[in-house]
């Protein structure tokens, strides 16, 4: 008989399996990546990797926590050095140097302060040896930092603030307090009257040879000025992160409305045509050109949050960079594209298209297919005939006057059809089968859509013919006050024709229901069939 021997091996493996199981459970349950909270003052201190490649995770630094601690004491100078009586918003140094040096600056200064604070009996951050307490990837805190839009209202408040003084004491306006340009030869910033523009024209996201990053520039300029005023016990803007970058705080910023126009000698009306210059223009060549556009600059100024909506790189005119053939300065975007691109928010047509997504417009416009360039109505903007221009040479004043006249002439163009021209009720019963005909309140619906245009200048400009609004529903046919009936083009439910015209039932339901949905009209509900057409009694069994 074989000898008896216990299978202790088998017994030993069971605990191993159980332990492995426990390990896996713990690993899964406790690898928690959820964030507990969000703050706007989260800064990541992330030095580059050491020459040998070693790198600790970035340190998540909560700035406002620290500023609040030093509130009563030396304030910014606790951590920031000064240069030319302005704080340099780097930590305890004027500029970046070698990685080891910077690292040492952080370690020594941070830890020293923490040690001192703790010695005073207050809660402090990590000290030597608690490396991973600072250098950790999962902190449980997320960033709710929001960029600040320095819009016209904020600009006006600065412009009109008495405490903000111009460089030159005798100046009537204080533009020079903030605005400057960079003199390449002198290699310093100078103020030039009449050349003020957005900071972002020179200060981009990343630092360049000529300008610091927008982040550095804005903090250096704004925070320093605020700090100076606060130290003089005057009312000033925020000096803490959350003050500008917190969502709640941003909502609390006082808004001046309506904002007085910025004083930058901008035109009210401009005649747009790339080929018109002050010099002689060959009269023959004029006949080859596109008709110019009388552009209402003032209305567009009011309608946009800042000049940058259109003047995205510079306050110069568009055709300076976006030439007819395309130029490197203009990013190879040709003038025609710059003006007419449907996908860019800086182009005329692109911006107008974005405006159509508003709920008041979407009822008709969301259902319209993307237009091709060839489908655009050029005359709507290119109103002036070339023939009215001249005699050559035509100087700027003459052109501007022409534009202003044309702009004024188009102001009162929004004409509403009379009640006689709009049928009050239309009975749609051509498909009546399970339901009675629909009693469609035609005039009421039309007037409702008309009312949604309201005072919107752009809407009024583009819907300037009596029949334009009709086309919202009576589409794909010549504009007329007596458009053809829907059944002219929409027949039986389609069996997949390529131009994919829906059948009549789908056309009716699609037109009405989609409009309601896009405009947020909850009543009548799409599934409430009886609301629009009563159900025939014979159906109810």
């Amino acid at each position: 008989m074989a000898k008896r021997r216990s299978f202790g091996w088998g017994k030993g493996i069971v605990p191993v399996i159980i332990l492995a199981g426990v390990f896996f459970v713990i690993a899964n349950v406790y690898s928690d990546t959820d964030l507990d909270g969000f703050r706007p003052d989260v800064l990541m201190i992330d030095l580059p990797a050491m020459p040998g490649g070693e790198k600790m995770p970035a340190v998540q630094f909560l700035h406002d926590v620290h500023t609040q601690r030093v509130q009563e004491k030396k304030k910014c100078s606790t951590c920031h050095l000064e240069k030319n009586q302005q704080f340099v918003f780097k930590f305890m140094r004027l500029d970046n140097s070698a990685i080891e040096t910077d690292m040492a600056i952080y370690h020594e200064n941070c830890i020293a302060c923490h040690v001192k604070t703790e010695a005073n009996g207050e809660k402090a951050g990590p000290v030597t040896g608690d490396c991973r307490s600072c250098h950790k990837t999962q902190t449980g805190v997320g960033s709710s930092w929001k960029p600040l839009s320095f819009d016209k209202s904020l600009h006006y408040r600065h412009e009109s603030a008495n405490v903000i003084l111009p460089e030159d004491a005798g100046d009537t306006v204080n533009c020079s307090a903030c605005h400057h340009t960079y003199d390449k030869t002198a290699k310093k910033t100078v103020y030039t009257r009449g050349e003020e523009g957005s900071c972002r024209y020179c200060h981009k996201k990343e630092k360049t040879d000529e300008a610091s990053s927008i982040r550095s520039a804005s903090h250096d300029a704004c925070v320093n000025c605020h700090q100076t005023l606060v130290s003089q016990k005057k009312t000033a803007g925020p000096i803490e992160c959350a003050g500008c970058h917190g969502a709640e705080e941003q909502a609390g910023i006082k808004v001046v409305a309506p904002v007085p126009r910025m004083k930058r000698n901008q035109p009210d009306a401009v005649l747009l045509a790339s080929w018109i210059t002050g010099q002689d223009t060959d009269a023959k060549k004029v006949t080859q050109q596109m008709d110019p556009v009388p552009f209402n600059h003032e209305v567009h100024e009011r309608a946009n949050a800042s000049c940058q909506s259109c003047h995205h790189e510079t306050l110069k005119k568009c055709s300076d960079c976006h030439t007819e053939n395309g130029d490197q300065d203009g990013g190879q975007v040709q003038l025609a594209q710059a003006m007419h691109s449907r996908t860019s928010s800086q182009s005329c047509i692109g911006c107008h298209k974005e405006a159509q997504t508003d709920q008041n417009c979407a009822g008709c416009h969301a259902g319209m297919p993307d237009k091709q360039f060839a489908d655009e109505n050029c005359r709507q903007c290119h109103r002036l005939d070339r023939s009215v221009l001249g005699p050559w040479p035509m100087n700027k004043e003459a052109r501007t006057e022409l534009a202003a006249e044309a702009v004024k002439a188009s102001a009162g163009n929004f004409v509403k059809p009379t009640n006689e021209q709009i049928p009050e009720k239309v009975v749609i019963d051509v498909l009546a089968d399970q339901y009675e005909g629909a009693q469609f309140p035609h005039r009421q619906v039309f007037r409702g859509i008309e009312a949604r245009i309201g005072d919107n200048g752009m809407a009024r400009y583009f819907h300037d013919k009596k029949t334009t609004l009709c086309m919202g529903c009576h589409h794909n046919s010549p504009a007329s006050l007596q458009p053809p009936k829907c059944a002219s083009c929409h027949g039986e439910t389609s069996k997949g024709s390529l131009d994919e015209r829906p059948g009549l039932m789908g056309a009716y339901h699609g037109q009405c229901i989609n409009c309601h949905q896009k405009m947020g009209i909850k009543d009548p509900a799409a599934t409430d069939c009886g609301k629009c057409h009563k159900e025939k009694l014979s159906n109810k069994q």
């Binding site: 297919p369 993307d370 439910t493 389609s494 997949g496 059948g503 599934t527």
Partner: protein
């Protein structure tokens, strides 16, 4: 074993040929069936669907299904996500979007795949893809094994579990009898929003592409069903990501049948090679045994022969030595005898001499 080698191989050959004739499975290749030409399909546009359930009602009427408890205009059923059932060939489900936007409604039914998993899985050909594009079910063949339900990646086929003797698998039929007559499927005809478009599959793909391009902001740039599981006759376009409206995006573009083509193609190879392998092993092992036997016999014989040989040599030696001994003994005896005789003769002579003279001392 009583059979001859010839007989055995003959039987094997017949079996092999028979097996190859029976199995027409294709080896895994990149052949894929793109659908019968001009077969039909349906395009479902979820941006148009308003969740009115008229399609469900029409399907119920056309297929003469039992009238449900909750009427079709009761929209509270949309609060729960439903699936098809033995008496419900199609359902409309509601998916709420975040930030209070309007919910999305999606109709769910058999997708009538170009290479259906169910038809590939059916071991009795009760499910077939027909020329109109529909995947039809033949209840006169179905055994009720429900492998089609396991195979369908969209979880569509339902089963009459409460039927004891005539349970059927049920699913959308694409209104096959109606489309053969030139009518529209019930759901397509009844949809007030024309969220369903019927046509040939090729046209529908073009229509879908056009629609997505024309209303670029309104749609996700993807036609669901164009390539999923090798392509389906029923396709969907949507303004919301498909994974958020209950449509799996991880199904891949391989047809279901391509997953099983590999194993199926191995079958005839096994049938062809295994006999060779196994007979070979048997033959080798038998041969080994035989050789072992022979070696054993040979070894035994050898040992016996050796032993005999030894014996013979020993015997000869013994004989030799015996003979020698005998000879020696004889010689010795002869010698002794001669000596004795000589001695005797000498003695008698001496005695006779002594008797003639003095009295001899007689020694004895």
């Amino acid at each position: 074993m009583g059979i001859s080698r010839r007989q055995f191989l003959g039987w094997l050959g017949a079996a092999g040929v028979g097996a190859t004739a029976a199995s027409r499975a294709e080896a895994a290749s990149n052949k894929q069936f793109g659908g019968y030409p001009d077969s039909f399909g349906i395009l479902h546009d979820t941006t148009r669907c308003i969740g009115c359930r008229k399609c469900e009602e029409a399907c119920n009427k056309v297929n003469e299904l039992p009238v449900p408890e909750q009427p079709f205009d009761d929209l509270s059923v949309l609060d729960k996500t439903r699936r098809t059932r033995f008496d419900v060939f199609t359902v409309v489900n509601q998916f709420r979007k975040k930030d209070g936007q309007l919910p999305v409604f999606v109709k769910k039914q058999c997708n009538h795949c170009l290479e259906p998993a169910c038809a590939s899985a059916c071991f009795v050909r009760a499910l077939r893809k027909v020329k109109t594009g529909a995947v039809v079910y033949d209840e006169s063949l179905c055994v009720g094994c429900r492998y089609c339900m396991v195979a369908c990646p969209f979880n569509i086929p339902a089963y009459e579990y409460d039927e004891a003797l005539t349970p059927r698998v049920t699913k959308c039929t694409m209104c096959h009898p109606r489309i053969e007559k030139g009518l529209l499927p019930g759901c397509v005809e009844s949809c007030p929003k024309e969220a369903l478009t019927f046509g040939t599959r090729e046209r529908l793909v073009k229509i879908a592409r056009r629609r997505i391009e024309k209303y670029s902001n309104a749609y996700i740039d993807h036609i669901y069903g164009e390539h999923e599981m090798g392509g389906t006759s029923w396709m969907t376009i949507s303004g919301t990501p498909f994974s958020e409206i209950g449509m799996r995006e991880d199904l891949g573009t391989q047809t279901a049948s391509s997953f099983t083509a590999g194993p199926l193609s191995a079958v005839p190879v096994v049938v062809a090679l295994w006999p060779v392998l196994l007979t070979g092993i048997y033959a080798i092992s038998k041969r080994k045994d035989k050789i072992a036997d022979e070696e054993r016999i040979h070894a035994v014989a050898q040992t016996v022969a050796d032993a005999n040989q030894e014996m013979t040599v020993k015997l000869a030696k013994m004989k030799d030595s015996m003979a020698k001994e005998k000879e020696a003994a004889i010689n010795l005896e002869v010698k002794r005898a001669l000596e004795d005789a000589a001695k005797e003769a000498a003695e008698s002579q001496q005695a006779s001499e002594e008797t003639g003279s003095e009295t001899p001392k007689e020694e004895k």
